[in-house]
Symmetry: C2
Subunit: 275 residues, 2 copies
Amino acid sequence: MVFYLVGLGLGDVKDITVNGLDAVKKASRVYLESYTSILCYGLDKSQLEEFYGREVIDADRTCVEQNSDEILEGAHKEDVVLLVVGDPFGATTHTDLVLRAREKNIPVRVMHNASIMNACACSGLQLYRFGETVSIVMWSDEWQPESFYERIAANRERGLHTLCLLDIKTKEQSIDNMMKGRKIYEPPRYLTASAAAKQLITIAERIVERGETPAYTEDSTVVALARVGWENQKIVYCTLSQLAEVDMGDPLHSLIIPGETHPLEDEMLTTFPRQ
Amino acid sequence: MVFYLVGLGLGDVKDITVNGLDAVKKASRVYLESYTSILCYGLDKSQLEEFYGREVIDADRTCVEQNSDEILEGAHKEDVVLLVVGDPFGATTHTDLVLRAREKNIPVRVMHNASIMNACACSGLQLYRFGETVSIVMWSDEWQPESFYERIAANRERGLHTLCLLDIKTKEQSIDNMMKGRKIYEPPRYLTASAAAKQLITIAERIVERGETPAYTEDSTVVALARVGWENQKIVYCTLSQLAEVDMGDPLHSLIIPGETHPLEDEMLTTFPRQ
């Protein structure tokens, strides 16, 4: 039969496609890739189970990466579904699962859906004017990498917009729990748009201190997006220093650093509030 | 009430989301943006009407661009839906419509869906390793622009993949019909992956003739994609000169020129046939 990778899109339980829902309903087993869903989705498994009227099996990243055999078991004879937030190919993990399925001669079918990679166009910035996407990691006192900066600068140089995905940390263990081998996890954390703005300003300041010109300043205008695709999505268009003080609310957040903009893009950007 | 922009995704009538379908069912009027749908979707309005059990009004690009008042009429008091192939923000036209709705204080709600801009990750190439997207125009004997080449080269220089969207021509008039003011249109035409490969090879040859080194050669490997998201989607991984001879079948086609690839990307690419 078929191994289905079904995208859940960005919003609520009903942002699955009708084809995706059909696959869920007729499958023998339905897994939920829960690593990203914990935060990105704001939904728990029980809401999905209620909407589908069937059991959904929790599959965290470890399970997806290490126990692909378990997920794919029996998929020759019956349909198996793995639900993934956004589009199924958002994470390399799923590419790997497709490869394992093909090795076993199990047909794979992908039900695509929206992901932040295309839905960020709700900012009014045109997708074909985006350069390389960057991931901004959450800084700690000890660890403040700046590797993403070079890619933002390279995009800006070519007049391109940069979509910045913001770090999420799930299933972290405290050192104490890790030492004692207790599988107790800290509450999930995510990088907010305002914290990301502060990090970006710090990087620009360090570059100025070195006597160089940064690719942006604290006065550069950026777009912050929160909960794209939800009823309560929020989009703010302001300077980096203003964004550092804005509370975008619940996760997930992301950030766009525009390059050169066209008049229609500008017209759309100015419809968004500054806080 | 609400003006809904509903993405239809890439596949068949059932690739609409459940939320999107709900909006269609309760709206007073449902428009279909038919400019792109003619070719991209492989579906006609009647199939949508049958699936929804209601009338769908044809709105070609001219109508969407020039008669936004007509589409938005009454949207204060009742729900109006505009169906768009892929994701609603794939074209600037829809950004403009959102602006017109906001001017009229009509609430706008977007139902995102998959588009080629994120679904191209089915190639196994990771989205965050893509640079700027380019559009390859269909050459004629008289008009052979190469403007997209510089952007492919800039992406390659940074090791980034390039998604190439291939030209579609709909609602073209013959010179005779245009002169006589007859609204008779030629059958839609689209740039095939093999024709695009030939154009790309010609550009590389011209660069070699000028004594320069092109960003790719006819021996560079590329990924051709046809009908992404359909049951009969086809993905081919081969050299540009091989692709020039491959028939990818019905539209729409697109092309990816990979940059530097990671081992997992390579592993996925080699699962695709060479023709």
